[in-house]
Symmetry: C2
Subunit: 584 residues, 2 copies
């Protein structure tokens, strides 16, 4: 080893020892005859001291060291005269007797500090410098710890991690596949997996009754801020179980992670049906760190000749606790918020239920005080509350009310990232009607089993069938989702046919799975967690990108290595491919 | 849970308990009024009993259960009258009171037994049935255990597992890349990584001083029996270290694995230079479970008018201990062995040094007994040994002698798969001359550092430069290899130029790495282990395929899911690609 100790390790008890440290120059200060260098490595910062009276030459050398130079310094650990209580090594310094420059550095394009002056693009281009910054390094350390704890947990529970293949078959149901031309099989293509779904089901058929894998998955989607073309899943599957078993095992997993990684003790997760979640929160991934449930007040508000309300399919109210003193400006902000195109409400009605018992609303000319008191009752508001009311088409207004509720939670400081409120959402619809394509889509995926009691509805009213599916939601974020799977060929065929597959399409894409079901497939089900998202939740960040070492930008580019890029004509020739005129 | 216990769990102490088991019907035997079913799951086999006198209907149902039916059976654990000491549950049986068929099964295309009647192709097509067989299941369990132990070891040593990207840039040095067309960046392509080499070096520049990852890598090579297009590496890198540190850390890793997975205690690994390995074994990955080193006897055998010898550049001898009584037939077999095209020797000379002191050879008419006694001395043979001699061109004959040595080791039972003989091979040449392309190739890869003392030779005699590189070899198999890396832009540029890169090529492919070296790159180095190979070594098998859940065949096909396959015109259009007339 080039060093005897790390830069985060030395304490007052080490005083007098000769040590050798390696690291990067964080700061270089000259104070009178003394030169002080903060030396940084993965573990911390240690102060190096050079005294020009004792060794002028060495001190001159030290003065020339620029930021981010890599050096090796040997010296004696000594107690500091002015201690720095902010860092663990703050009681000591190293009085350097010899110094070696292991590698010089150009001036970095941004400062290597917790708060840097570098913008996102620059930091991504020089990601290897960005990772030297504490917040990014800590995010990667957290991710490692979470992966390690995940594996230990599942190993202890008897799960086996099995690597499923990355070069698989294209089955373009759902999102787009990334495809990989095969040179050895001309004009044929592999696809990168969107998830190991079919393989983990085959492992259940194979008798591996508890499988897990932390695994890269791929989706060729147009990227939003929060999506990456490659992402990581904690993928799990079990045999001979029912939904209740899955919820228990994976709730235990979440409890284990929160305990071992964050030192938090979670209570038993509440469970809520999809239907109730939509009713109370307008959302199938409700943030239950706070209440302020949506209240449907349609029946008490109609018939007073106020057209907006009378014409509305649905009227929803949110009682915002203690907000009756909101100013005109605050109310205008909220109105602007709900009228934003991505929210899409046409306006916002408010009723202030003041602490003195008086009522003030934006609809005073249509409604009497008694009318509005009925609104209060229906909205379950109390004196001091502000009632926010949205009216319009059910679907649109429910979504808008959900967003407004989250905004109010945010404004009221009820969405503290250090508070964690997990829950299970169950009984999702099996199918979603796609008005444009005039056909059903699978809400989860085509392998999801219907609830047994709803199977008869598959023939009579497929849109009503509930799935044996469940999501784990924490703080308004879907952390994991899964289902009990179909393990019977006929039922699987029926599902494919409801989803608009011809028999031939189903056979060519998923014949291998349906065949497998005929050779003794056990009842099975599972779940997959979005690992990047889980890490960002634990780290208290909204961006999954912060928790990936080398993420891609919104155009799917790695700007550091400059990928994707052109390839040679020789490579294209070997793959029997020709580039076509660009479409745009 | 559908079951209370697994099929491997119940013991005599459980007698009297009511249990519910789930699993697959392994065997169904009717003996008089009794029906016995061996029920199998991941954990073992338990005997179920049905008595037609007690419950005729249930017994009839049981008799109809075919092989691989999935059933759920409830009953009482009872002591067996005729115990089976071969299985852990052999002292008990379950007297069944209720039975449910969870899923029937077609008759499987091969028997689900340790020794099956299914050929490789059939087993691969129905891999989900193959995995139900003990040897395959055990291989996957071993792999899981090894991955888990690997992660625990590196975690405990302060290494961080960091996921590097799968969609990277094509840098077609070395093997062929698999490429992935980008839809969002038309006419541009990602490549799948052949290894995370450049990313792990960037992580060192980023200050992560101990990195590891168990990671999928990809090579589009024409497949040999032992190669797979996707394979798994244990990839590691460290900063502020020298070769000695790397050897110590990763020797400790191997010792840990052998201890924790196989209960074996390994001694300190011997180290040997590449030059000595080639001299003594004709091979840079010597199997040192046995001796029989190659002896160069060129100088003592020439000048007796035997043309084969006199014309030979090199004459090598192997003293095969205790083989002086080999028969004509055995010697003919060995001659045939060395004359096979893949070995390529033109013939084999033998000298029997009998225990009675007499000598018999295939070259008696050219050499006197005294001549042959000198051969003995040079070959370090003793009475009872058989000396096998190969003569010809140095390179060809050394390779042939290496193969012959391994064959003799095999014949003499000296290559016991339960004995493990690890070693380090060091001081590899940095460059290999490619006679065809008239240029140097990197023996390891272009990022490998020369030995410091050999750097001056880069200008004067590059072929002589030794690399700061090392391989871990166990039982004749290269398990891991690595090097201290270049961390200086100028030296890296020089290497690229020696390897025939133009400045522009080097810049466009690896500019990001050389730029990174200018911002404070620490001295660093690492190693990568072939995880599939390591698993097969631990499992005592020659085939890595046995240790992968879903391997591909020699044409790179997954015959179970039938991949690769054709994709739709729509997919090709979106990627701006056209298929070209096939070349073959």
């Amino acid at each position: 080893m080039l060093r005897t100790n790390s830069c985060g390790e030395l304490r007052l008890t080490d005083a007098g020892k000769q040590v050798t440290l390696c690291g990067w120059v964080q700061r270089n200060r000259v104070m009178g005859g003394m030169t002080f260098i903060d030396l940084r490595d993965r573990y911390g910062i240690t102060q190096l001291v050079f005294n020009s009276e004792q060794n002028k030459e060495l001190c001159n050398e030290a003065q020339k060291l620029g930021r981010e130079f890599v050096i090796k310094a040997t010296g004696i650990v000594a107690e500091r005269s002015s201690k720095n209580p902010k860092i663990p090594t703050g009681e000591i310094e190293v009085i350097v007797s010899s110094l070696e420059i292991l590698n010089p550095s150009k001036t970095p394009p941004f400062t290597i500090e917790d708060e840097t002056d570098g913008g996102e693009d620059l930091r991504m281009k020089f990601r290897y410098l960005d990772i030297r910054r504490n917040p990014v390094k800590k995010a990667l350390l957290l991710r490692h710890r979470m992966a390690q704890e995940t594996r230990c947990f599942f190993d202890q529970q008897g799960f086996i991690e099995i690597e499923t293949p990355v070069l698989i078959k294209s089955t373009p149901e759902g999102a787009r596949d990334f495809i990989v031309p095969s040179r050895m099989n001309p004009h044929e293509f592999y696809a990168l997996p969107q998830s190991p779904q079919t393989f983990k089901q085959l492992l259940m058929v194979a008798g591996i009754d508890k499988y897990f894998q932390i695994v890269k998955c791929f989706r060729d989607e147009d990227l939003r801020a929060d999506r990456q073309p490659e992402f990581t899943q904690v993928d799990c599957e079990m045999s001979f179980i029912e939904q209740e078993d899955i919820l228990q095992v994976f709730e235990k997993y979440a409890v284990h992670l929160f305990h071992n990684v964050k030192g938090l003790k979670l209570q038993k997760f509440p469970r809520i049906t999809f239907a109730d979640a939509m009713r109370d929160y307008g959302n199938d991934k409700p943030d239950i760190r706070f209440g302020m449930k949506l209240k449907n007040i349609t029946s008490v508000v109609k018939g007073k000749n106020f057209k907006v309300i009378d014409d509305a399919q649905t009227v929803l109210a949110i009682a915002s606790e203690g907000c009756s003193e909101y100013t005109r400006k605050q109310l205008d902000e909220l109105t602007d918020f709900v009228k934003r195109p991505q929210i899409g409400a046409s306006g916002l009605i408010y009723v202030k239920f003041n602490t003195d018992g008086s009522i003030k609303s934006s609809v005073d000319k249509f409604y009497s005080e008694d009318d509005l008191k009925n609104w209060m009752l229906a909205a379950e508001a109390k004196p001091g509350d502000l009632i926010l009311v949205l009216a319009g088409d059910e679907n649109k207004i429910r979504k808008a009310a959900s967003e407004l509720r989250l905004e109010m939670g945010h404004r009221l400081g009820l969405r503290n990232p250090d508070v964690f409120a997990p829950l299970w959402v169950v009984d999702f619809p099996l199918l979603e009607w796609d008005e444009e394509a005039k056909r059903f889509h699978a809400m989860h995926h085509p392998f999801t089993s219907p609830l047994p009691e709803d199977i008869p509805l598959l023939d009579s009213d497929p849109g009503k069938v509930r799935a044996n599916a469940y999501d784990m939601v924490i703080n308004g974020v879907e952390i994991g989702g899964g289902s009990i799977r179909i393990h019977n060929r006929k039922l699987q065929q029926k599902l494919f046919s409801l989803l608009g597959f011809t028999k031939e399409q189903a056979e060519s894409q998923f014949g291998f799975l349906m065949n497998a079901f005929e050779y003794g497939a056990p009842p099975h089900g599972g779940i997959a967690f979005g690992f990047d998202r889980l890490c960002s939740l634990f780290g208290g960040s909204d961006s999954i990108r912060d928790y990936m070492a080398f993420p891609k930008n919104n155009a799917g580019r790695d700007v550091m290595i400059d990928a994707p890029s052109a390839i040679s004509q020789h490579q294209l020739d070997e793959l029997n491919l020709v580039l076509k005129e660009k479409q745009y």
